[in-house]
């Protein structure tokens, strides 16, 4: 059966830092971008609703 963590040599710390950094940067970017898009869409909706109210 596959081990939960791979058995790495003396450089394991360097490898885990790289993978952790990758997960953090890429994961953080995905979350940030999706939130930004949601905020932009909500702002447009608010603006359109306000426009209709004004009319």
């Amino acid at each position: 059966m596959m081990e939960l963590l791979p058995d790495l040599d003396k450089n394991a710390a360097y490898i885990w830092v790289c993978y952790g950094l990758g997960a953090l940067l890429v994961g953080g970017t995905v979350i940030g971008v999706v939130l930004k898009a949601r905020a932009a869409k909500a702002a447009l909706r608010r603006m359109q609703t306000g426009d209709e109210d004004a009319e």
Binding site: C18, L25, A40, K41, M47
Partner: protein, 245 residues
């Protein structure tokens, strides 16, 4: 050019990206997960490449590919805007910049971490590969700062496009820096004239990771472009409301 114009319609782009972006996220994430699982658990360590540390390759190399590809994409989009003034091309260039900066930062950081146990140093200031990638990172930051400093959208697009196109000269310099100059960095082993020099057991997970990163990146670019289109529409709406008030 006709096909390009058809896709340059923001309304059509919103409809297309509505299903294409989630598809890119899903397939990209699955490919990256498979590639990383192979890279960490399955492929044997390569004692010729320093043992297990070569597993950093599955993060570092896709990040390096994306850094160069994203800048090339930003420069191409800038060129299209500069010649044909397609608004969507400017939106694409603007969307690529922060994402390109993130992947370039990842490339620099993982390369530096890989370098310490392999070369005995985190960084070499006179190394052409390292410095040209660092310059690429500053080009992304400079592009964003330049756009932000302009007082109109047209000026921002024009100044950004010129910088992106001129800075594109750095991309071939990065690619061939290891051939033209003495470098700690190893020679190209995947994208070469004679084909990949890497064993298939490493090449497949690497290619899957690379393709996965490209799809994920593509999905992110589309999402940021959608956000920018909505932001510009909201701004136009606001201007219309103010004009009518």
């Amino acid at each position: 050019m006709g096909m390009l114009s058809a896709f340059a319609n923001p309304h059509r782009f919103l409809a297309l990206s509505n299903w294409l972006a989630p598809l890119f996220y899903g397939v990209g994430a699955a490919m990256i997960a498979w590639g990383l699982w192979q890279g960490l658990w399955v492929v044997p360590k390569d004692d010729y490449q320093g043992g297990d540390i070569m597993r950093v390759m599955f993060i570092h190399v896709p990040a390096a590919w994306l850094a160069m590809a994203s800048y090339s994409g930003m420069a191409a989009a800038s060129f299209i805007w500069f010649i044909w003034r397609h608004e969507l091309a400017d939106i694409a260039a603007k969307a690529i910049a922060p994402l390109g900066a993130v992947w370039t930062a990842l490339c620099l950081a993982t390369g530096s971490i890989w370098g310490k146990p392999t070369w005995g140093t985190w960084w070499q200031w006179d190394d052409a590969r390292m410095m040209s990638v660092l310059f690429l990172f500053f080009l992304f930051l400079g592009y964003m700062a330049l756009r932000a400093a302009m007082d109109s959208r047209q000026k921002a697009a024009r100044a950004g496009a010129i910088l992106a196109m001129v800075g594109a000269l750095n991309v071939p310099l990065i690619k061939f820096s290891v051939d033209m100059f003495t470098s700690l960095h190893q020679d190209a082993s995947v994208i070469t004239v004679d084909g990949p020099k890497m064993a298939a057991v490493y090449l497949w997970p690497l290619m899957m990771n690379g393709l996965g990163h490209m799809l994920l990146f593509g999905g992110l670019v589309m999402t940021l472009m959608r956000a920018e289109i909505w932001t510009r529409r909201a701004a136009r709406q606001r201007a219309r409301l103010l004009a009518g008030a």
